[in-house]
Subunit: 202 residues, 2 copies
DNA sequence: TTGTTTATTGAACACCGTTCAATAACTTTG
DNA sequence: CAAAGTTATTGAACGGTGTTCAATAAACAA
């Protein structure tokens, strides 16, 4: 019976329609500045209708949150081809920062905006953990090649992530204005190269 | 005529009353989760009255934002006694992170919550710039003693700040759950020591 | 006492996320 | 085909938000 399948596909179409509009508006105006009515108006639907397809605003957030991580992970996966683990580590940082530059709003959603749902739960948490595990493995591979031998791998990974996130977070919140005469991109790129210079001496 | 002075002092008293209540509620529930009506109720005033003393919610934010920076700067100033610039630099980071741990909500207000007012403007911006200039000077002093000689002082400062902020931002947003079996404080403290270890080798 | 400035009020406006009874559209059953 | 049932959609309504503003009270100056 192809009827329930058609029903299903129509529900999926509606799901996608809402999500596409939400993505567009979320990434333009930010999560807080986007209302359910904005989305509803955009797709010519009633506000209440969205709640038939999504439990609440946080549910839409979660889906976009996951999207963002998949996008980032996809870009990081390419680096598996880089044979030397230290080169891979440095490249991860560069790709991470580039991702933030090119997807400022996804980045906000993923790392900065308050998680409306409960933390440490759901697919979003799992995928974040996957990303961290990935980074941790690279660090350990570096150590097996003799780098960062005297460091705890987990704390070192956390520190790496913090440094990269710090750069991106200041960028996303435009807290870079105090460095006059330098563009955001200059600060981020050269700032990261400073960090890499430290790594290279360790 | 002491009358206009009394008037003035009463206006200041009211200003303080609102600010005290706002601080209490902001730092407990967060900026977004605090309403003008919450504040008004707390001090037994009408919602509209607040607008006689503050332009809008963002104006209150700005004042607390400034407070936070003054608190932080006060703690950093103590470190002027540390003679060796590199020791001073390392201590700045430790104090910064400690500040975030002890004043999570101020930290949020200062570095994470969206600035409701226009950026790069007003006293808050000036004080932030002062803090950065302070850090920059320490970095330059380190360079004069032979450290970080091959680095650009400004980019290096930005990188330092990013690393510290990254640690604190992950903490403030509880994005640390993916590191199982470690407390926030452990991650922050040991993570920072990892970073210091890098600095020491440079 | 009258006029003027200053401070306070609370209703009102336009928005928000969310709920829900009503309803329309479509599918299944009798 | 008609009745019953399921599914999707609606828009009003609820309680909340930041903010404005005419009315008002209080304190001062003339």
């Amino acid at each position: 019976m192809g009827i329930i399948e058609r029903k299903q596909s129509e529900r999926e179409k509606m799901h996608k329609l809402i999500l596409d509009s939400a993505r567009k508006i979320f990434l333009k105006n930010g999560y807080e500045q986007t209302s359910m009515r904005n989305i509803a108006t955009d797709i010519n639907y009633s506000p209440g209708s969205i709640y038939f397809h999504f439990k609440d605003k946080g549910e839409i957030f979660k889906e976009l949150h996951r999207e963002g991580f998949q996008l980032l992970l996809g870009k990081l996966k390419v680096l598996d081809n880089v044979a030397d683990p230290f080169e891979r580590l440095k490249a991860v940082g560069r790709v991470f920062i580039q991702f933030a530059q090119e997807n400022k709003d996804y980045y906000n959603l993923m790392f900065i905006v308050d998680d409306p749902g409960k933390e440490s739960e759901g697919a979003g948490f799992k995928i974040a953990q996957e990303a961290i595990g990935h980074l941790l493995n690279i660090v350990k591979a570096c150590q097996q090649k003799g780098r960062f031998k005297d460091m705890d791998a987990e704390y070192f990974t956390f520190m790496m992530l913090s440094a990269m996130h710090g750069i991106c977070a200041l960028f996303c919140k435009d807290r870079t204005a105090s460095f006059v005469g330098k563009t955001n991109e200059q600060l981020m790129d050269h700032g990261y190269e400073c960090f890499v210079a430290l790594l290279e001496k360790a």
